[in-house]
Assembly symmetry: C2
DNA sequence: CACCCCGAGTGGTCCGACCACCTCGGTGAC
DNA sequence: GTCACCGAGGTGGTCGGACCACTCGGGGTG
């Protein structure tokens, strides 16, 4: 783990990948080992490049990589800083997964969300504070008071976000945020509102809120699972049907499971 | 709106971020919109840079960012290709989260894993094939046949990986893989083996295997939740206790800035 | 036909320059 | 003494060019 790594075999060529890749690992290791604390400022790009014996260009690629991963943050004119390494920082990339997932992957993603969301809602039922409950109720009434799909979606997201926060697990909340936000939800909602799903969604949200107000974890879990499962089933059916949506890849669907 | 003018000067630059950031979004959008299929080869770095009107350096940073996100893959001398966008490709970054998480975040991460792992094990109990069950049993016996911690850990990981695969949700399996592998597990195991946890772990794994063989989803869920919860509780107690920092290593590099 | 070699094309690395922005200290007005 | 202003230096952001390492396919060789 020191500078001169003692590879048993394979001579002096310790270069296991590109220089940039090594730089990424080095900086990541510095943070993991505690040499760099959250919020701390890193050396300048030029100094870092000199320390690792690489060019500034390569170091910049490494910095950029760590930036998109949410590990460090570059402030123009000021310096590079380690993020707080909060759940939200590191799990921001989760949204990319949702953005780029299609077909069967979307159903799988929704299944994961159903599992986490139901558990989070159950936890929230036991831990939610009156203030948080009031906020949830506020989003519920606001959602029922308008017909603008975008506004409904915004309050829908906030509704679940508030519940996830009340569950007391920031990591779980961050994952759910990535699974719910962005085009993921928007894509599902498109065409979804063409049916009579609005009333059903409002009913489901009301059921979740009732369970939270009653401090009933099991009811909350069931209500949340049913809510997400509703969308999940709709999406599953959409896939097995003609799937007219352009967002669905024309990839050959293989619905045939193993036989006998 | 996306057809931006090329005039570098003159007024309202719609550029919301850095050029590199815009390039990342552009390429991501191309893939999301289906202009670039999985496995397809992208234009060369030089062409891409010319298309977006930026330098090759900036484009390279964008490519590097998309590479670490698992969206594209660069092959030296050949070209840049869109990955298959499988769950494993995109969720590889999840391991970084586990690597860099410490303190309360570790407990939260383990809680998420407990939720997903228990559900995955329950699903596996209903869906596992005889071949997969045999593989699980193989890792169980191999785990019990040795005292080498590393070998035990390897079979432990494979044990759970096989179960996650049997659950039939690749996305969930990929997330669990990121949550379990790497230094995350190794860090927990170090010092953990100092106690009498080996026998307990073997007993818990045997219970999971029994539930799978009996095709009992509820028993499997309970066994898996107890198994992960065991580690979770140990970690929680470790934190409340003195908890000598495990992140301390002999500083290999201590950059001494040159004096004025 | 099989094999080898080589050159064009690609990503990987490096360099140097310049620009845009932030920070901080000095300076002056009040 | 206080505070607003402002300039210089340092920082990340961008650019263009050059060269290296590697891959791949086509043409020559046996």
């Amino acid at each position: 783990m020191d500078k001169a790594d003692e590879s048993p075999r394979s001579g002096p060529a310790v270069a296991k990948g590109t220089v940039t890749q090594r730089a990424i690992e080095r900086i990541k290791a510095m943070i993991a080992e505690g040499l760099l604390e959250p919020g701390q400022r890193l050396p300048t790009e030029r100094d870092l490049a000199a320390q690792l014996g690489i060019s500034r260009s390569s170091m910049r690629e490494a910095i950029r990589a760590l930036t998109v991963l949410g590990v460090v943050e570059a402030r123009h004119g000021s310096g590079i800083y380690v993020t707080q390494l909060q759940a939200g920082d590191l799990l921001e990339t989760f949204g990319v997964v949702a953005d780029l997932s299609r077909g069967p992957r979307l159903v799988e993603l929704l299944e994961v969300r159903r599992i986490l969301e139901s558990t989070a809602t159950a936890l929230a039922a036991a831990r939610i504070t009156p203030e948080q409950l009031a906020a949830v109720e506020g989003h519920l009434t606001a959602m029922n008071a308008t017909d603008d799909p975008e506004e409904i979606l915004a309050h829908d997201l906030a509704f679940h976000r508030e519940i996830a926060a009340a569950a007391g697990n920031e990591t779980m909340a961050a994952i759910l945020e990535g699974l719910s936000s962005r085009t993921f939800r928007a894509r599902v909602w498109r065409g979804y509102r063409e049916e009579d799903a609005f009333a059903r969604t409002r009913r489901e949200h009301a059921a979740i809120h009732r369970a939270l107000a009653a401090r009933d974890p099991e009811a909350a879990r069931a209500a949340a699972a049913a809510h997400v499962g509703e969308v999940e089933e709709w999406l599953r059916a959409q896939r097995s049907a003609g799937a007219p949506s352009s967002a669905v890849a024309p990839a050959p669907v293989r619905p045939a499971p193993e036989g006998p």
